[in-house]
């Protein structure tokens, strides 16, 4: 692919607001991000930071009450403002999603194999029953479900949580989409199963040309998997860069806080020391602070500056940007 080709997914200045009884809730403000072909991009943030709203916007799943500005381009074509039937062509075929809650995202009365087959048939009606079955078994095998032949005939409730999540991933990649959006795919799982699911995502990255937008609140998940990381806080993008500098040359105070609050086995803690936590709480989307959204919780905040001026993303390294006014001083 040459440099002139548009990126697979390009989100520019995306802002999303919802009118509510308490006033306007600005869920997402001026977020830009890009996913190149074959990349895994992590979108990190706390609950309520707007990361799931961004993914809903990409898929055109926002409710009618949302006010959306900016642009979302997929392979160079604008997605915002497309009709339902135009989006339907794309969904599942070019862009697919893996949901968070695997139990409720599977239909309890349909057999797992039939649901997978359904996902394929939505876009490809040319397959015979036999081919369809073979494809289903192949997909289940790819996501690491043993005895796929037999398990295709079982119902979701006969599967464990990790296996259900694998099925969802299989549904996501059924039509070999260009982009797979994984919305907290490991959140509901325990740690060992989490690792297995990440392994599946890794396998998809290595064996197919599918790009992955991995939405998570867990930076640790991204370390081994992502090529790039985008950090969101209170609806704004605070840092964006390749995975290594994000972890080792962290620029933004919020990202530093996030990293510091991860429990680590290689860092000794005695009984008196506690895990770091970022003081304060995520601001209410109805009344975001003036200036930098993070300043009320930021250890480096400077009066009369951080609470007035809105930081713009500034380049701090190769492909690495951070939105902080004091980036030079605190670096």
């Amino acid at each position: 692919m040459t440099a002139q080709n548009p990126p697979l997914l390009m989100v520019e200045d995306l802002s999303i607001a919802f009118g509510t009884e308490e006033g306007t809730a600005r869920a997402v403000e001026q977020v830009s991000l890009r996913v190149e072909s074959g990349q895994v991009v992590g979108l990190v943030g706390e609950s309520g930071s707007g990361k799931s709203v961004v993914s809903a916007a990409i898929l055109g799943l926002l409710p009618n009450t949302a006010r959306v500005t900016g642009s979302v381009r997929f392979q160079g074509t604008e997605l915002l403002g497309r009709t339902e039937s135009q989006l339907r062509e794309l969904r599942g075929n070019e862009i697919a999603v893996v949901f968070q809650d695997a139990l409720s995202a599977l239909n309890p009365v349909l057999k797992v194999g039939d649901q997978l087959a359904e996902a394929i048939r939505v876009h490809d009606r040319s397959l015979t029953k036999k081919q369809l079955h073979e494809r289903v078994v192949e997909l289940l095998d790819l996501v690491g479900i043993s005895a796929p032949e037999q398990r295709a005939g079982l119902y979701p409730h006969e599967f464990s949580g990790g296996m259900r999540q694998r099925v969802l991933i299989a549904m996501g990649i059924a039509n070999e989409p260009r982009l797979l959006i994984a919305d907290e795919p490991t959140t509901a799982l325990d740690v060992t199963v989490q690792a297995q699911i990440l392994e599946v995502l890794e396998r998809i990255r290595d064996r197919t040309s599918t790009s992955i937008l991995l939405i998570t609140h867990d930076l640790g998940v991204l370390a081994g998997l992502a090529d790039r990381v985008v950090v969101m806080y209170a609806g704004s993008k605070v840092e964006d860069g390749p995975v290594e500098p994000i972890f080792y040359r962290t620029a933004h105070p919020y990202t530093r806080g996030l990293l510091a609050s991860l429990p680590r086995v290689d860092r000794r803690t005695d009984r008196t020391s506690r895990l770091y936590r970022i003081p304060g709480q995520l601001p209410n989307p109805h009344s975001r602070p003036e200036g930098c959204v993070f300043h009320p919780r930021c250890p480096h905040a400077q009066a009369a500056r951080c609470d007035r001026e809105r930081p713009q993303p500034s380049v701090v390294g190769d492909g690495h940007v951070a939105a902080c006014l004091r980036i030079e001083e605190i670096g």
Binding site: L61, S104, L106, V109, G153, E158, Q196
Partner: protein, 293 residues
């Protein structure tokens, strides 16, 4: 290759492909009910072979006699074999019961799904129309409709179905309102499925249990409603007969030695209604793969 093989044992040789039948067969009452319905239907529809006497074989001098070996259920006031008459009458009662039940469930389900899934003003309009049908006393409507339209049994079926769909429409709408919020509907949507596809492939299988119960309840209510109508003189008229109008003709014998004329058609209705409800119960359970026993 991966350690998940241990996550859940694959149920061995269970014939999971035929899960529905297996689950239904486990339901004893439903199996018994199904057997009764089938035997009853067979006897009624093949009454010309099964029945011990010819239809309308009158022996006026014999009159009403109590059950005997020659006439297992006795004879009616015209000296006809009562068993024979009940079997022939069952044709009409069963036909009306089944066709009304299926018709009203289909209509009710379609309207309920539209109301629930489309939502907004379409849903409101459909539900207000449903309310309108619900508040009018059905017997009055039926009586008037049958007076005006004639009383062929087709008309009776249509009129009964025209009243029977309302309850199922409400129930289905409620179910759909809950189902369409499920994550798998969103999941199907982001897989690129059209709304029609979501309704057909995801919602309807979830509604099958409700529909099965509705059919069985409706079989029961429409047989009873038809009986009531016939009893009141608005339904099937002689020489056509149904269990309902047999009851109405025997109504004069309450408290006399010929009371059995009342009991036997009543018993036929009771057995049918019970058996059909058991079948409905079994179907509901069988449609839900999560139900274990």
């Amino acid at each position: 290759m991966n350690p998940t093989g241990t996550a859940a044992p694959v149920p061995g040789n269970k014939p999971s492909g035929r899960g529905f039948l297996r689950r239904f067969r486990r339901h004893r009452f439903a199996m018994a009910g199904l057997a009764i319905v089938l035997v009853l239907a067979f006897c009624c529809y093949f009454a010309n072979i099964v029945a011990p006497f010819a239809q309308n074989d009158q022996h006026l001098l014999l009159g009403a006699t109590p059950p005997s070996w020659r006439h297992l259920l006795g004879t009616d006031q015209l000296g006809r074999d009562y068993l024979t008459e009940i079997l022939y009458a069952g044709r009409l009662s069963l036909t009306i019961g089944l066709s009304v039940a299926v018709l009203s469930t289909v209509v009710g389900t379609v309207l309920g799904v539209i109301a629930g899934y489309a939502g907004r003003w379409i849903g409101e309009v459909v539900m207000r129309i449903t309310d309108l049908f619900l508040v009018v006393p059905p017997l009055a409507v039926l009586a008037v409709a049958l007076q005006g339209l004639g009383r062929s049994y087709l008309i009776i079926v249509l009129v009964l179905a025209g009243i029977g769909w309302t309850v199922i429409a409400r129930v289905v709408r409620g179910e759909v309102l809950a189902l369409r919020e499920r994550a798998y509907v969103d999941a199907a949507l982001v897989l690129g499925a059209s709304h029609l596809r979501i309704v057909l492939r995801h919602l309807l299988p979830n509604l099958a249990g409700v529909a099965a119960v509705s059919v069985s309840v409706n079989v029961a209510t429409s047989i009873i409603l038809e009986s009531t109508l016939s009893f009141l003189g608005f339904g099937v008229r002689p020489p056509q007969s149904s269990w309902g109008n047999m009851l109405s003709q025997a109504s004069g014998y309450v408290g006399t030695p010929q009371g059995y004329l009342l009991y036997f058609p009543g018993l036929a209705i009771l057995i049918t209604v019970l058996a059909v409800s058991f079948v409905g119960d079994g179907l509901r359970d069988a449609f839900d793969p999560r139900r274990k026993q």
